[in-house]
Point group: C2
Chain length 326, copies 2
């Protein structure tokens, strides 16, 4: 593959080149990996920066409809929008069952939009690296907004928040009891809570739910990266396209404030460090899954299970004899 | 230190030798560590096996009173009882504020009991290894029961459950709503739930709470290591010493069943493997905190923060140049 040619075409905004580059960074093959690193390094310094918007919400909350309506609104303003998905269930099953493009039919046909389903990977760590690299590629390709979407389960939300400039939490209208179902940790990550489905019969409930969340947000500790009034809760209807323009206004004013105060750049630097350290840890531990260490570890584990060696002595032996450690 | 002499005295059941050996395994000094490993290896094959009873309960539930009453009951039957504590807050503060011996005054004066406070350590991993090793030492010293106590917070419960043959969860009488406060994961680890303070004004509440927990336990998935009727919920009063003999009967019948069906030995083997693998991972990652890797990592992190290197390229460089990895 001609990496220089691919680079030129990505910088020219060619969608097929972008898609091909993302396939390259998603590949597990060693030669692809090498090419991907070359490409990513060669693309540094292009000076383009997208707004990275992380987004989470449990299934049924209307995420696809929101992304479709929101994405079309942005492309309607002349902005280029990329949508990347991080789906832990697809990571488990090895591929999403319903393609993301089917879920967002109109947006996927928009020439200023680019939708990429979740990479199929067995490890969340692998998905994280691939999504981060795909985001870098979208930035290089000149996208203005990169939406990184995930479902509201487990660690994938933390992961997406760690690669986003802003984090949105999409919520459904609900009774007071259900409000407690949103984990405190997730609330604390969010910059804007959007109570969706504020339409028809659910409108009143949505407004009440929004007020409840606003109350809950006021109880959280103030974060240095938030201007007055943030994090905030708002109602939207993705179906009727109401509230989305206002939500975008809020996102932009938050972005502006964070840029002016230096929080935007500081957060990106901090995130880069976070991912560097996470990748070092992950790859160091990956040594344990590769031969000959894996085999030696299994043999020692059998001795430990049989009671012939203490766990500590076995660990010492593995580290000393197979991992070049004292 | 004469390790052979220490070994002989531990096997003879000398309490001071045991205390000294535990101090040795708790030490962070490299020469102490080496001696501790020699001692532990030399003590293998003594053929003694204690029943390891893990125990958790939030502060205020009456854990100290329970251990005191329960421990005295066991020593009254001629059994030797060791009590080890795992206290994450003492791990943070570098030592428990109130000594464990003060909390259990009568038991601490009993010559068939041995009480050891939580080791002061900053890392839970370090506390885990030291507590496991202290348990091994107590077994070698001929103790019949080793109670490993922890407070009901965070990961320390999982840790204690992973080094116990039986796991007790001590609970307070409570209203129906508070029942939900016990995390499902903790419930699933427990073999016996003990609702304490079933005395005086709280007796009726305790009985109701116990019935609620029994109902909750029936909803859990059946585990292969449980005979009919387990896990179970019971009421006790540590203050009035009621229900404890029955609880001990249940523990013994559970132990007997698990021994006969092979679950007891299988679980110990599985735990040994778990700790072996955990220790390998922990010590592998510890390389990152030691010079010269630590310094190299900090320097690369600064380049990553400045945007001069991608997280992936920096991780590659660290692993290749400083951790002898391809």
């Amino acid at each position: 593959m001609d990496i220089h040619d691919l680079k030129t075409r990505i910088l020219a905004g060619e969608r097929r080149a972008l898609a091909r580059a993302i396939t390259l960074v998603e590949s597990g093959r060693a030669d692809h990996r090498e090419q991907a690193l070359l490409l990513l390094e060669s693309l540094k310094g292009h000076g383009r920066e997208a707004l990275r918007v992380g987004m989470s919400g449990t299934p049924g909350v209307g995420k696809s409809t929101f992304i479709e309506t929101f994405g079309l609104m942005l492309t309607g303003q002349g902005l280029k929008v990329a949508v990347l998905a991080v789906d832990p269930s697809s990571a488990r099953s090895g591929g999403s069952i319903l393609g993301d493009k089917t879920r967002m039919e109109r947006l996927s046909r928009d020439r200023n939009a680019f939708i990429r389903p979740s990479p199929s990977q067995t490890q969340l760590g692998g998905v994280a690296r691939r999504t981060r690299e795909a985001t870098d590629l979208c930035e290089a390709a000149g996208f203005d907004v990169v939406l990184i979407e995930t479902v509201g389960v487990g660690q994938s939300e933390t992961m997406v928040a760690e690669m986003s400039d802003l984090f949105l939490l999409l919520l459904a209208p609900a009774g007071g009891d259900e409000l407690q179902g949103v984990k405190r940790g997730i609330m604390e990550m969010a910059d804007i809570l959007l109570v969706n489905k504020a339409d028809g019969d659910l409108k009143a409930t949505a407004l009440r739910t929004c007020a409840d969340y606003a109350g809950a947000l006021r109880l959280l500790r103030k974060r240095p990266q938030d201007p007055e009034g943030f994090p905030k809760a708002m109602t939207v209807s993705a179906l009727e396209d109401t509230g989305l323009a206002k939500a975008w206004d809020e996102m932009q004013s938050l972005e502006k404030w964070r840029r002016e105060t230096g929080h935007f750049a500081a957060r990106r630097a901090e995130q880069a460090r976070f991912w560097f350290e996470a990748e070092v840890r992950e790859r160091l531990l990956a040594r344990l899954s590769r031969e000959p260490v894996r085999g030696a570890m299994a043999a020692l584990a059998r001795q430990v299970e049989a009671g012939d060696l203490t766990p500590t002595a076995a660990a010492e032996e593995l580290l000393r004899d197979h991992l070049q450690m004292d």
